[in-house]
């Protein structure tokens, strides 16, 4: 499979000003050196808790927040040309015709749609940016997009607040697709929705990816959702990538202790399975001052001396499974010993 995006040493630090002269005193290290390849046509899930940098990754790729350093290499489908997005401005991207190819679906459909615009205009907006349409053609295309996401032409002349959350999210998806993208960042698209509606949206997204040949970056904190929809999963903690693997493999062969903590922490809707639960001590450290060495060592049940001083490298364990942990060889065994089992099925 070829790569559509390559992230090299991507960093995003938000500066904190202080003092009388408003100099930079510190920075929130939201993303601190990310190396990730995204393959065309896949759905890469990015999981982690608040402060891990998953949302920042998505926004940095789309240039909503300019990265502090690092490269984002984009390989669009048709041409052989590649672009380094980190150096390009919005207008440069527009001129190159690639601005519209990278889109986003936001978490909260209430705030991501302009409540003063009719649905028709919301969806027509990206269409109008691409070329000139006649009024009739435009309306036809808008209706086509509505049908694609499961809505009808009745819904054209209405305001967003007249719809339910699930329908609004469909409209947001239609808007994203209207821009003819190749790559879509989905930032917790189902977190604000009801459980049954979540299933509808996930099925819709899956169908669209297959039908239109899209590539997704699916950001969420909900591991079961990401398991359902993603082909590969990346686990992040405090701005760093700590584990990357194909979905099935992650759930059956997780190596990083944090991944185990996440997996065991998910409340499973099945009272018959009594899982061992790894309860981590303490809170997530502040990204202002991440711990020395391995960032997870302050809460890690398997922490040893080397973890406190030396930061682990992201090592390829074969089959595309990468882990950043000093104790990766023995972690599964140790966790099974301490908590009863390292399997979650």
């Amino acid at each position: 499979m070829d790569k559509i995006l390559e992230l090299k040493k991507l960093k995003k630090h938000y500066p904190i000003m202080g003092g009388v002269l408003r100099k930079q005193v510190n920075s929130v290290k939201a993303l601190d050196g990310l190396d990730l390849d995204i393959y065309r046509g896949e759905c890469l899930g990015v999981v982690g808790e608040s402060g891990c940098g998953k949302t920042t990754t998505g926004k940095a790729i789309l240039k909503l927040h300019d990265p502090t350093s690092g490269d984002i290499i984009y390989h669009p489908t048709e041409e052989g040309k590649s672009y380094n997005l980190s150096e390009m401005s919005y207008s440069a991207m527009r001129r190159a015709g690639i601005r519209n190819k990278l889109q986003m679906v936001f978490q909260d459909p209430t705030t991501s749609l302009n409540s003063r615009m009719l649905i028709k205009h919301i969806i027509a907006e990206p269409l109008k940016e691409q070329k000139k349409w006649s009024a009739r053609d435009l309306e036809e295309k808008v209706v086509q997009l509505l049908h694609l996401v499961g809505l009808t032409s009745d819904h054209l002349m209405r305001y967003p607040h007249e719809f339910s959350g699930g329908q609004r999210q469909r409209i947001a998806v239609a808007r994203a697709i209207a821009a003819s993208p190749e790559f879509i960042v989905l930032d917790e698209p189902t977190s604000a929705l009801d459980v049954s509606v979540q299933a509808q949206i996930l099925n819709l997204l899956h169908k669209l990816r297959k039908q239109l040949g899209l590539t997704y970056l699916f950001v969420t904190h909900h591991l079961l959702v990401v398991k359902y929809i993603s082909t590969r999963i990346a686990v992040m903690y405090l701005g760093k990538l700590i584990e990357l693997s194909e979905t099935e493999n992650l759930f059956s062969n997780a190596m990083h202790p944090y991944t185990h903590a996440l997996l065991s922490g998910i409340p499973n809707p099945d009272p018959n399975l009594a899982k061992p639960r790894i309860v981590l001590e303490g809170d997530v450290p502040s990204p202002l001052d991440p711990p020395q060495g391995c960032r997870f060592h302050t809460r890690c049940p398997l922490c040893i001396d080397v973890c406190k001083s030396k930061e682990p490298e992201l090592v390829d364990m074969g089959n595309g499974h990468k882990v950043a942990c000093h104790r990766r060889e023995e972690s599964r065994k140790l966790i099974a010993e301490r908590f009863g089992s390292a399997d979650y099925c």
């Binding site: 339910s164 299933a199 998910i266 499973n268 809707p269 009272p271």
Partner: protein
Amino acid sequence: MKNLLETKDLVTNFYTYEGVVKALDKVSIEIKHGQTFGLVGESGCGKSVTVRSIMRIIQQPGKIESGEVLYCDDAESDECDELLSKSEAWMRELRGDRISMIFQEPNAALNPVLTIGEQVAESYMFHRKRSISKQVLKDVAEGKSSFGLFHPFLKWVYSTAAANPNARLLKVLDRIPLLKLWRRPLHREAIRRSVKIIGKLGISNPEEIVTRYPHNLSGGMKQRIVIAIALACNPTLLIADEATSNLDVTIQAQILDLLGELKRKKAISSVLLITHDLGVVAETCDRVGVMYAGTLCEVADVKDLFNSPQHPYTKALLNSVPRFCVEGELATIEGSVPNLVTPPSGCRFHPRCKSATEICKTQKPELVDLGNGHMAACHNIQVKAED
């Protein structure tokens, strides 16, 4: 055994511009002493409205139209109180003392300009004046602390407070600027108790925490403080309205673990847990009620509900939730939640139900006992032949 809390045919309406929203349609729930009851449903199903109706904190334009809420605090005695007919003053005494509630957003529950200690102490100051006054008098008598210069005056005030916390004298004193300071020893004792309860919740350095402000704490800590405020006066029933929905997975695990531990240590007796997360319900609750569009569809013990759901909505809901070891496409439920201004006639789920029949459109199904405490409101279920 008697029920701790029982609602009978609760009806609540909201009078809005678009019409009358019939939020609750004869909801009847029973919670026993020492039980963790989970109320599950999607948005708009009325679970939050039910709980707010029980606590009588429904605001305009909402109105509790009819129904009964029976609350029997003491498992031994036969006395029960009907909450909907009590005065607001009586309810104020009840809230925070016998029934406590915690909400979803810890940031909104904590006042950013008061220290943690002050906020936890508020609970004690309101509900436990008598007990704290007695404690203060005892401490002074034993010499552990002293009233200083104003000994006779303060002794008299505290004796009054110990006898009658609502005495007019205290209210008058509270309004006079300098004399207001009589509360200082009271406040100190309340802070001391706050430190104790915060410590019980597994927070290290409680003496230091009480001097901090909410913005110095992380989300998980804030939610623990909110729980501390709720548990301060040892309530019989704790109501948690989506208390862990906003938290990270590992922090949620900590909080659920904490709640489990408190239950084991008997620090809390009964819990009414409201959530949309079926996983949380499966792991923490003893009994579950499923609500849809303002009606209660099914109530059962947790294992019964997950292993053999009877109501079509419950079945559909369980099939649409991603599970750990289950593969395959998630089932979806056709249609969307109805508009409660014009709810469907008869059974409110019938437009989306695969097994709907003629009677479902006209007659609302009642909750029927299917055996083993498993109840469902559906016309099309065979009553279980055995147990």
